[in-house]
Subunit: 289 residues, 2 copies
Amino acid sequence: MKKLDPKSTEILIVGLGLLGGCYARALTEKGFTVRAITLEQSSIDYAVSHGFLAGGSTEVDAELIARSDLIVFALYPHIFVEWVEQYQHLISPGTVLTDVTGVKGNVVGKIQGMLRPDVEFIAAHPMAGREVSGVENSDPKIFCGANYIVVPTEKNTEDAIRLCEELGELLGFARVSRLSPEEHDRMIAFLSQLTHCIAVTLMCCNDEPGLEKYTGDSFRDLTRIARINDAMWSELFMENRDLLLDQMDIFIDRFIELRNFLAGGHVEDMRAMMRHSTERRARFDKPKE
Amino acid sequence: MKKLDPKSTEILIVGLGLLGGCYARALTEKGFTVRAITLEQSSIDYAVSHGFLAGGSTEVDAELIARSDLIVFALYPHIFVEWVEQYQHLISPGTVLTDVTGVKGNVVGKIQGMLRPDVEFIAAHPMAGREVSGVENSDPKIFCGANYIVVPTEKNTEDAIRLCEELGELLGFARVSRLSPEEHDRMIAFLSQLTHCIAVTLMCCNDEPGLEKYTGDSFRDLTRIARINDAMWSELFMENRDLLLDQMDIFIDRFIELRNFLAGGHVEDMRAMMRHSTERRARFDKPKE
């Protein structure tokens, strides 16, 4: 398959949760036939009855897999690897596989290392999510203004890379970029994993009752992501351990620097950090649609 | 003055910036006569022409002050203290003063210590703001769902405390609470000042160009407040130095704990922190209107 075509491309989502649901909604809206393999029949029923899924199964259904031209994996990293190991013989030649996994180095290496030569896996990371889970909470509006990263290796063909970029655009992402697995994981350690570590820590610093009566938006914003799927995120952290530790250590050093400016009454040094912060933050606003 | 009455209570805002502007809009909408003393004529012109200010002056106008029943100070802490020192002789007996200052201990002590016995200062902290400043950006919607803290001392009368609580309700805050200056400053060190320290630090950790192409909402959320008024916040930090240092040290300890769980591969300990975080965060959602 070289091109995504609503008339002929059949898409299979493996793992119909929040992100899988967003993909199914966005792609059904664009005219594609989307089916799913997922754990719970209730997820399939919900999506079918809401008109954004053509069908699905809670079993690893050979016919469902064989007819699919594009398979999107929205699973925990280790389950994704096991799934491909166990069921890749069911995939038709020429099928393209992609994913939504939050770390790439280990996973991409494992998948591409064992995959049949007549199918291709091109990794991607949609930089969007919500603090709630499940297909019922899926809403492709979370892709508006958001970033989509395609993560090719030297094993990928230019055709598959382009197809994956096209998928990001079809889903409604504002910016589609390419990074190597190593660049991706370093970036994500800083932009996503470190921020989750900070939010969780902040939420574990002070158990005083009643604080919610006094809080402002700054605390709410910094801890929105402190509602966290502990199974998934601990796995993502462990998969990217060394790079995340690097980022945590840099953060600790800078934070202690600010702490010592305050302790020593070095107002000008504090203000210089604040001005740098203000200037740099201006670049990170969401692109307007 | 014992009661806020749109027909008879004239309100003066000293410092018509973002928050002063929100007060003027909300109170004018409730039928009060609101005037302002502020640095720039353009701020007054903007507010008058947009219909949310009855008039104002860039001078410390004796008649404007004398006719006011309630004066709201929306100034930097040190300017607030100097203003009262210099101009309190212009205030009419029975007038109530309040403020929006982000730290209380020092400021409330200084003001109440020098204030004439025939006027009363009751401190308050509206827990709302925006990352932009100026009266042009004022919007009282930021008070919807937000918290308002009245900060009385033993020098305050119950009448003034109630009047200040009533003001918080009139402004549209969802929850109005009372805290002592000491409790307030401890709370704010954690809920507001620590979060600003974290956001600024995060924005100063990594100057790599192009990061905005890969970021997700978690980084955007955690750094929204990294756009910071360095003059004001460095002053607020210094005014509350010891309490903020305590909170920074607690945060560093917990963060290093999480770091070491990760380094040691103690997945169960990481997950326990994440579950605690998730459970506790649920209390901090904004009350629905």
